[in-house]
Amino acid sequence: MPYLELQNLHRSFGSHKALDGIEISLGEGEFLSLLGPSGCGKTTALRLVAGFDRPDEGRIVVDGKDVTRVAPNKRDMGMVFQAYSLFPNMTARQNVAFGLRIRGRKRTDRDTRVVELLDLVGLSHAVDRYPHQLSGGMQQRVALARALAIEPRVLLLDEPLSALDAKVRVQLREEIRRIQLDLGITTLYVTHDQEEALSVSDHVAVMYGGRIEQMGSPAEMYSAPATPFVAEFIGTMNRLEGTVVDGGVEHAGQTLAIEAARDRPRGSRVLVLVRPETVEVGPANGSGAPNTLVGDVVTQTFLGPVTRLKIVGTGVDVIADVPTQKALGLPVGTRVAAALPAEGVRLLDLKGDLPEIAEEPVPAGR
């Protein structure tokens, strides 16, 4: 039985449809990430669950109870915000104890619980510090402890790591997942960072234009994107436009043998999706091997263990991730052949134009 249900949620701001009928169903103790570019409606959805905003239509059900019209302070939702949410006039201890004081817990109970939670987030040494004496990462840990203190029915995280440095971000997201698994708390996590979403979630829902494009496990989302948007948004993807012909897909004047093209009607326009890491790159030897596209290496981007090559030729524009060692032998300007795998390549029907993905702005320091 689902624990948290968002049923047909609609919310508009003026003429802008922020949420256009989203449906989510989440089991108890599960971790769902809402992933999408800015303006896709993910934060609106979270705010509706928290009770800070009301839907125009639809219901929010937690543990069988309709909470759509319940005030935020009666919902028992633990919320962690992007930043600046700690009460500046209170120490870490007082911040964490705040929700417990409101619930009228005895002082001794409160103290024990606060110490327990600050210990859980690794801040037992900083209980008496004020927010301005804590680093950004520490502040978010305190915010997490504060949200958990009230034993919320659902934990809501609104881009809690987006204002932190890259290293702290990775560290803290792993900790959030560890704590979530430890406590078995149902969690809704909003982020625009696909790596973050894929690495910590049980389920990921990619949102675009107020709708859920696709929801599934991180592996499913990566390996089997259902729409061009998801394909583009999750990971890096080569998107090759082509037409289905006998024996495959025609692209850049070549017929690519692609398994998935068999059951498509001939002449239909499709998008061939190829992950850069599945593209094999070698020096072009003029033999015209099947499934290869020939072009010149125009850029090399060092990514650590792999190097990303951009290969451009006549009608060809492909990126490929090759082991860095191998990339050393393929400097910029080298004529190369990029071999696409015949299997495991996804095809999507191409209807109209592809959506542009808005760049998520880096939150400015306020």
């Binding site: 928290a50 302070n73 028992d76 915000f81 949410s85 700690l86 705040f98 301005h132 932190l164 440095d165």
Partner: protein, 267 residues
């Protein structure tokens, strides 16, 4: 780490000139207040004794201090929730409020008092004839710009939305959010507004005079016209009262809570 500051000699000169500009009149007033009433020579505390033993001094001071406290209390009670609400829910109204707050600056006190006397004509006598009623109402209007702009700055320095929502998600009601989360974080702003209001009430002459209430500035004016040496003494004493109020503001405002807006480590 604190960087060491060097003060250029030229700025020292300006500082000194500025200091003299402020202190010479004070010093002259002090010396004058110490002169004897009979001989006109230095030095006696007679004038101070005269002021301290004057019943009107204490009476008018009491009225003005009470009025100041009343004005501060009413202003805070009205403007803190209003500015909070405007920042939180209807930020579009902020320019309108800022415009309204400028009106007491623009309308001359003489116009205001005539208007107010007319508006309140027919009001019950406990209101119309008492400083606690009529004058307090007028002073709340006078203090409005100072309160508004101080509070507005205070609310801008904190993230009102996030703090309110964080407090609510933890189960806090609206009043509790206001008193335990918002108010402590705009304390300096509320204090600044309060002391400006205090300074206004302690110095306001026109309205009190025209409405015929015996406040401290009226007493000051009366002494000024009748007693040369005690006038200097009472001027200095009123200066000290204001000074004391400023010092307490500095003292209270320096405590924690004033750093609401400064959060380290977050970009």
């Amino acid at each position: 780490m604190r960087t060491r500051r060097f003060i250029a000699p030229s700025s020292l000169v300006w500082l000194l000139l500025g200091g003299l500009y402020f202190f010479i009149p004070l010093l002259a007033t002090l010396l004058f207040s110490l002169d004897s009433n009979q001989t006109g020579k230095c030095c006696t505390l007679h004038s101070y004794g005269w002021v301290l033993h004057n019943g009107d001094f204490w009476h008018s001071l009491k009225i003005s201090l009470f009025l100041a406290l009343e004005t501060i209390a009413i202003s805070l009670a009205i403007f803190v929730p209003t500015v909070y609400w405007v920042h939180l829910k209807v930020p579009k109204l902020r320019p309108l409020l800022a415009f309204l707050a400028l009106i007491p600056f623009v309308v001359p006190p003489i116009v205001m008092v005539v208007g107010l006397l007319n508006v309140y004509k027919g009001a019950p006598s406990w209101f119309y004839d008492q400083p606690w009623g009529f004058l307090a109402a007028a002073y709340v209007i006078l203090a409005f710009p100072y309160m508004f702009f101080s509070l507005d700055a205070g609310f801008r320095s904190i993230d009102v939305h996030t703090l309110t929502e964080a407090s609510q998600s933890l189960g806090s009601s609206w009043p509790r959010t206001l008193f335990t989360v918002i108010l402590p974080n705009i304390r300096s702003a509320a204090l600044a507004g309060s002391f400006l209001a205090l300074a206004i009430v302690m110095g306001e002459f026109t309205i009190a005079n025209l409405a015929q209430f015996h406040t401290f500035p009226i007493f000051l004016q009366y002494v000024n016209e009748t007693q040369a040496y005690p006038a200097a003494a009472v001027t200095l004493m009123s200066f000290c009262i204001t000074w004391f109020a400023m010092l307490s503001l500095l003292f209270v405002g320096r405590k924690r809570g004033a750093r609401g807006a400064v959060i380290a480590g977050v970009r």
